[in-house]
């Protein structure tokens, strides 16, 4: 799985601050909690083809949450293989 790549692809910018947001009736919600939830809670999309081929450089597409068509995936793999053979 590509969970570990998340922080690599989306490093927190230097101006990252643990600000706190207030939502009516819900108390305080910190930005860190929001980021944790929007990235880590809920439906995670991963096609088995994308996962199994991640080692062949599909990871640049952006994690296991990216759904792409088989045609697109294969096109990218072939392009990558050609590039390596050059």
């Amino acid at each position: 799985m590509a969970h570990g790549h998340r922080t690599l692809l989306f490093p927190m910018p230097s101006n990252f601050e643990p600000i706190t947001l207030t939502e009516a009736g819900d108390g305080e919600v910190s930005l860190l909690e929001i980021i944790d939830h929007v990235l880590n809670a809920g439906v995670v999309i991963h096609g088995s083809l994308v996962i199994s081929l991640a080692g062949v450089d599909l990871v640049y597409l952006g994690l296991n949450v990216v759904l792409t068509s088989v045609e697109t995936a294969l096109r990218n793999i072939h392009a990558e293989e050609k590039r390596r053979l050059k």
């Binding site: 819900d26 809670a41 995670v44 759904l67």
Partner: protein, 225 residues
């Protein structure tokens, strides 16, 4: 950069629900209908710019929260993008029954969270003694286990279901409780004695993401097999 379909959340049809107009990067929020399932999505530029991730996360959260304050939702993770609306529709159609079943099961509940972790205040233990350090660490772990147990016991009837998971941030307790009982949940937790060497934080209500069925939480994509 390319245009992709970003999925926000799914919910059951309800004509009385107000919907947000715009979401991530100001893109108009669109609604997709399949049977009694409704899905919010938007066409966005992909990939996102790292320097905009904070803003994107808050915008994404705002869209999901807007609906979640009214009804139960199944949130997608922020980076769940599809090639286009048709790919998204195909995906949803494959899993429509499971999404509907989860939404019906979770229609009246929300997820509350309590994370228990060692108090970040400087330790009083002699830092030069390895034995003392290990002893203190073991005591903290035991205290956390006890605290998790005490919290669950205290919540009693407020708790419909519970999941406990170890995380980097501490031990996380996810509790399913009825919508509208968040304040009661917080009050109960505050009454549970907290040892000095521990800290805890309560958050919620959140969509019941920790309690989704496996088919919904991590669906296999038939078109990608």
């Amino acid at each position: 950069m390319s245009r992709t379909a970003l999925a926000y959340c799914a919910f059951l049809e309800n004509p009385g629900i107000s919907l947000p107009a715009a979401g991530v990067n100001g893109a108009p929020v669109q609604i997709m209908s399949l049977g009694k399932l409704r899905l919010l999505w938007a066409e966005v530029e992909w990939p996102f710019q790292p320097e905009h991730m904070q803003k994107n996360a808050v915008e994404f959260h705002s869209v999901v929260s807007h609906v979640f304050k009214q009804v139960a939702v199944i949130p997608f993770r922020l980076l769940s993008v599809f090639e286009d609306a048709e790919a998204l529709r195909t995906f949803i159609a494959e899993h429509e029954a499971a999404f509907v079943a989860d939404l019906e099961r979770l229609s009246e509940v929300v997820q509350m969270e309590c994370v228990v972790y060692p108090n970040p205040a400087p330790s009083q233990v002699n830092a030069t003694s390895g034995a003392a350090y290990l002893h203190e660490k073991a005591a903290k772990l035991h205290a956390i286990e006890q605290q998790v147990q005490d919290v669950q016991t205290g919540l009693g009837s407020v708790m419909r279901e519970v999941r406990v998971r170890e995380a980097k941030s501490g031990t996380r307790i996810f509790v399913l409780t009825e919508r509208g009982r968040a304040a009661e949940f917080r009050t109960i937790i505050e009454r549970v004695p907290l040892p000095a060497q521990l800290a805890r934080r309560v958050s919620g209500p959140w969509p019941a993401a920790e309690f989704l069925s496996e088919e919904v939480r991590a669906p296999q994509v038939a078109s990608a097999k």
